[in-house]
């Protein structure tokens, strides 16, 4: 993919990351904070994919898949904890 598409996209995703941090700060409820954190993980996955396109290295995708797995497990554990008072309750 040509760099003149990927580099502005990288800039834009970095700005989105800052805006996601703003959403994390502005959240009033702990569940809204979980939502914002999940969204931040998705933005970082997109950032890793764009870095992979820019450098042509497949290793960034390893990190993206691992991050998706970690964020899924963390979100489900936090939601179960907040909903029923215990991770396995």
């Amino acid at each position: 993919m040509p760099a003149f598409i990927v580099v502005p996209a990288l800039f834009w995703v970095t700005l989105l990351l800052v805006a996601g941090g703003l959403a994390l700060i502005r959240a009033r409820d702990v569940l809204q904070r979980v939502v914002a954190l999940d969204l931040l993980a998705v933005i970082v996955i997109a950032l890793l994919a764009l870095l992979c396109f820019l450098w042509g290295q497949a290793y960034y995708f390893d990190a993206a898949v691992a991050l998706a797995l970690l964020s899924f497990v963390a979100t489900v554990a936090a939601a179960r904890y907040l909903g029923s008072g215990g991770p396995f309750g």
Binding site: M1, A9, L16, A23, V30, L39, I43, G83, S84
Partner: protein
């Protein structure tokens, strides 16, 4: 020729994905309610990130495309589950707060501050 075509397709997919991520972030920032924020977040975790990952066909690198397919399948299976987990937690907290605030609501309020610190 085919390479230019793939570049165009990848660029369009990337544009659509970034647009969806932006709309979703605007929605999460604007909406006041957890349920409504989940709709906005579903826009990013479902179609948005899938469009960004699908634009990897423009790289014409077999390893990258294989990983992108794996990541798309994984995201498509897990994003409904995590959004359902958050929605169910919000439903239970609201119900326990509505029926006079049971112990669940009280401890939940305690963990709010702990999570923030």
């Amino acid at each position: 020729m085919i390479s230019v075509l793939l570049d165009v397709v990848g660029g369009v997919l990337l544009l659509v994905g970034l647009l969806l991520l932006t709309i979703s972030l605007v929605g999460v920032l604007r909406l006041p309610d957890t349920y409504h924020q989940l709709h906005a977040q579903g826009l990013a975790t479902g179609p948005g990130v899938i469009a960004v990952l699908a634009s990897s066909i423009a790289t014409e690198n077999a390893t990258i495309i294989t990983f992108a397919v794996l990541a798309i399948a994984f995201v498509a299976l897990t994003s409904p589950v995590s959004s359902h987990a958050i929605a169910r937690a919000a439903h239970r907290r609201r119900n326990s707060a509505g029926t006079g605030g049971g112990t669940g609501g009280g401890t939940g309020g305690g963990t709010d501050n702990a999570g923030e610190a």
